[in-house]
Symmetry: C2
Subunit: 495 residues, 2 copies
Amino acid sequence: MTANATALADLLAFQKETEALGQIAGRLGWDQETMMPRGAADQRGEEMAAIESVLHARRTDPRIGDWLAATEGTEMSQAETAKLRHIRRSFDRACKVPAELAAELARVTSVSQGHWAEARANDDFAAFAPVLSRVVELRQQEGQALAEGGSVYDALLGDYEPGATADQLEAMFGEMRPRLVELRGKVLDKPAPKGLSGTFGEAEQIAMAGKLAVTFGYDLSRGRIDKAVHPFSSGSGSDVRITTRTAPEDPFNCFYSTIHEVGHACYEQNIDAGYALTPLGQGVSMGVHESQSRIYENQLGRSRAFTSWLYAQMTETFGDLGLDGPEAFYAAVNRVQKDYIRTEADELQYNLHIMLRFDLERALIAGDLPVAELETAWKERFEKDFGYPVPKASYGCLQDVHWSIGLFGYFPTYSLGNVYAGCLAQALRADVPDLDASLAQGNTAPATQWLAEKVQRHGGLYEPRDVITQACGAAPTAGALLAYIEEKFSDLYDL
Amino acid sequence: MTANATALADLLAFQKETEALGQIAGRLGWDQETMMPRGAADQRGEEMAAIESVLHARRTDPRIGDWLAATEGTEMSQAETAKLRHIRRSFDRACKVPAELAAELARVTSVSQGHWAEARANDDFAAFAPVLSRVVELRQQEGQALAEGGSVYDALLGDYEPGATADQLEAMFGEMRPRLVELRGKVLDKPAPKGLSGTFGEAEQIAMAGKLAVTFGYDLSRGRIDKAVHPFSSGSGSDVRITTRTAPEDPFNCFYSTIHEVGHACYEQNIDAGYALTPLGQGVSMGVHESQSRIYENQLGRSRAFTSWLYAQMTETFGDLGLDGPEAFYAAVNRVQKDYIRTEADELQYNLHIMLRFDLERALIAGDLPVAELETAWKERFEKDFGYPVPKASYGCLQDVHWSIGLFGYFPTYSLGNVYAGCLAQALRADVPDLDASLAQGNTAPATQWLAEKVQRHGGLYEPRDVITQACGAAPTAGALLAYIEEKFSDLYDL
């Protein structure tokens, strides 16, 4: 081997071990939410700190810089080039942030979540404001270190969605906001469709969730489903686990969160097996990840065709649902309601929640909005977009955990995922014209195989926007999603 | 701080992280046996290799040598002295073994278990012999590196039971063997007591196992019970998990393996919380560990007093057991049968299985017994001690996994545990004269609290034999165990 080839081999071997350790850290997180005895929390904190410290040391290992330099000018395959792009990005990022700042951020955000939870329970934003101020301050400093004179917010955003910029998002949201605000006004002027009623036993919900997971292509020989307080998907490669939860009166919560997590999990499971334990062996960005969970959940799972199949399944399992046939069931699944909480929002209102957060968090990071004024700013903006006031902070700026743990630049990736899902669904329907006939039989394979082939198998091979562009044959815009939402809800609400 | 104090603090901080990483590796092992999707085996292999590689690098980190040297002559507490003794032992061991030998051992033993499983399934020792020869050869080399001219076998034994020697064990077994061989002859000449009959549903067995675990003091807020193919206990500190299994016709298998694992788990759970994530924060040796599992299982769990309570519990849950009252139940629990398998052996015969392995493995390591002759040697020795021939290799030298993964010097710690349990039970009964009255009520607290106070809380503070000596007020000998077995089985079999 030449010196170049040796450096490349050494770098990739080192990276493989790092990826494996990253998987272990992820599995510990899964264990914490599903299996860990409650008395083990403190010890688990030490264990997580230990493995994170090992991972941090590896990510900043100076040998990475040497290996990268030694591979300059080497002939490389497309996959090798992509692997090195990921490694270089991660290494550059780690080197730009001073160690003391990284440690301080880790320290502050490890306790701030507890303060947030307490403030939310007490509906007391003032008590949380000083903690949040410190988190904002540290993330500003980190963003400045990363941006090197460029946009601080973009630098933070780049952690979750490489290549995305606030300007681009602002243009996208600028197109979406007026149309969604207008549509939600019209929809809420109409009488609300009837909701579900009946008895939904926990065991039956869990069994149905398992059936839905398999229906959407989740491979249980390389995964498992457990109960947790919050649904999530965890792990890559051949060990991708999801969780679900049940509420006695709301089986849709269990079923649609399961389909959502299955979207995330199938993305991971369907990545080319040859990329396992390399930087290509996981979903390429939060936005692309969310596009998979959203298209499974919404464009497929909440479609008229699929809900007609689900209606029959649920009637068989739970008996009378208090609804007059599959069309009423479809309306119940897609019911638009006045609410305050992002995670419970329907397809129409969801992105309005995100835009609100996007604008406020940019102002926080830019220093234009003092943390002390956040609660008021939230209330003003919410009333403008939703048409009614927020009664308390736990329904407003205290509802999400994200900011408390320093996740600034993360929220917009949810909407980006929705926009990508809109584009993918349009392209999918063009490629698979009889999709609804399959969905009405509970057969998602034509859709999920298309997504596996066009998006999922590539893992981290391409840049996020490029994956979507290649899959759709055109660069993503909000148009497809807006047209889909307007058509769906105009039809449902007879506008 | 002085330079000495700084070195000590740095060393202990480094060690704490190593201990936390060791706990993570253990939890991965637990996950593999209980939760892991079957398709994830290969990826898990990479993950385990990655964390073991991190642990190996830390255990041989040259800074440990520098820190140890810098702390020479420092005033230290008893606990600090003990921590450093463990660290020094581990570091010296790691430094003595050449890296290539350690890597080759890891490589060979990672695949040899598969060969063993296949050979056992096919009853084909000849197919396994070349693999085992290589394992023996490598462990001989390792033992030579560790022994530095001393006894190779003792060096290997020291990994599991620091301070123990083959000479000492030989003397102990020399006292035990004739008395146990004689007793088993007498017992098997007598008519066998009746066994259990009835229907033992899986859910009821698992529920009863959980009840037994709590009865013996297992703290479920810092542990959990799951099903696995083989029962085991895993973890230290505030996260100590056990597994169990059920067989439809043999509930004792489930119940007594649970009590056994609870003994191991309570040892870990009851260690002084201040020792957590230090070298003192886990059981001090395999022998002392086994003394706890054995005394829980046998001297307490299989006692006449406790089985009278268990009889009532089981009758209540399972109905008629086909036995004529608690005395017949006590006889069924302690039934001595002709068998070949160590893990299923009763209290009387168990140690005969160990002695056989102890003598054969010493001969293998000394080079006096070629691996090719192991099967024949096993058969000859078995017939001598048990009185009947071994019909096939899977009932003979292929029954245990240990040697296939290089565990030479491990088997005798099982008997050492039994001997220690005998001594502890004698001392316990002297200190708690009304023990049987409590056990007959299903109250194990007087016994388990005595063990927690005398043995378990110390963790790794004292040397293994010293823990037992201090708890019993005298150095351990086989006398107490032999007297207990002879009295129990003479009574049961009316000798």
